[in-house]
Symmetry: C2
Amino acid sequence: MTAPTRRPGRRPGPTSSREDILAAARVLFGERGYDKASIRAIAREAGVDPALVHHFFGAKEELFAAAMEFPVDPGVFLPQVLSGPRSELGERLTRTFLRIWSDSRLRPQFIGILRSAATTEQGAALLREFITGTILARVAEALGTPRLNVTAAAAQMVGVVMLRYVLEVEPLASATEDELVALLAPTLQRYLGD
Amino acid sequence: MTAPTRRPGRRPGPTSSREDILAAARVLFGERGYDKASIRAIAREAGVDPALVHHFFGAKEELFAAAMEFPVDPGVFLPQVLSGPRSELGERLTRTFLRIWSDSRLRPQFIGILRSAATTEQGAALLREFITGTILARVAEALGTPRLNVTAAAAQMVGVVMLRYVLEVEPLASATEDELVALLAPTLQRYLGD
């Protein structure tokens, strides 16, 4: 690994570099959007060598997930959900989504992302870019579905999160996974199925 | 009108009474929920006579809408939407919802309610009570639909609001009313139709 260049006056060390990169990523993803914020520009903003960004975070998508503090990797769970019979896609998506959210270790982070998106411009920009650049693009491409349909499906699930986990509106908050699959899976299937 | 009793030390006058009532309503609706927060208790908390609460705000539902600063009266628009052919309910709901939100004078208030619900306990409690006590109860009763179905429909529309108006995710943010009706009306119809 080449030694990273640093801005003068910065305290060196891997922890500070890692945090500098994440801070720079949040600024540039928020300002320029996912596509236009290059690893090179983020490295420059952070005062480090681009190689160090790759060393810490791998690909741009992983850097983005880390910058958002997104607690699961869509590069892992989306391919699992999108593979398998297309006729059962709505059910697989609903179950996967509910299981990720039912994990009480992850939920505070997800809710934090949603809160920051609802209240700050940078939070909204980050979540918008994440949904657009990472989830919508990948799902629309894998399925050949119009992006508007994918956003309608995403809206259904974001609304379930708001009512079930943030506002805790009954009976949605206490409904079982199977009850919700019966209700929601046909909706996602209609938006995303053949 | 009888003169309201006041707490000692409060500055008298209709503006202060009105604000006191709204502040008391926010506290009690948030703490006790819509059903258990009585006009009498809210009047006591505000240090005024219950008759003054009725004088300013009419029924409890209108007081609640005012306490939330909810910019439209569900007592007016819901009966309009719920009447008419049941087979076209999904379309009527979708169009009404999108038209209310497309009003740029009202939208900041709606977004403010959503933001406060996403970030404060009192805001979450108020919106939960509003959705449960005012909208769900009325819709479920009028239609004879299970409440879980009504919450699923509400979740779809809350998610559309988050993605279209708060996060401004494309292509949802720029989609026309007709495009969204084609996509969303069948979903609401399935949740709420016969």
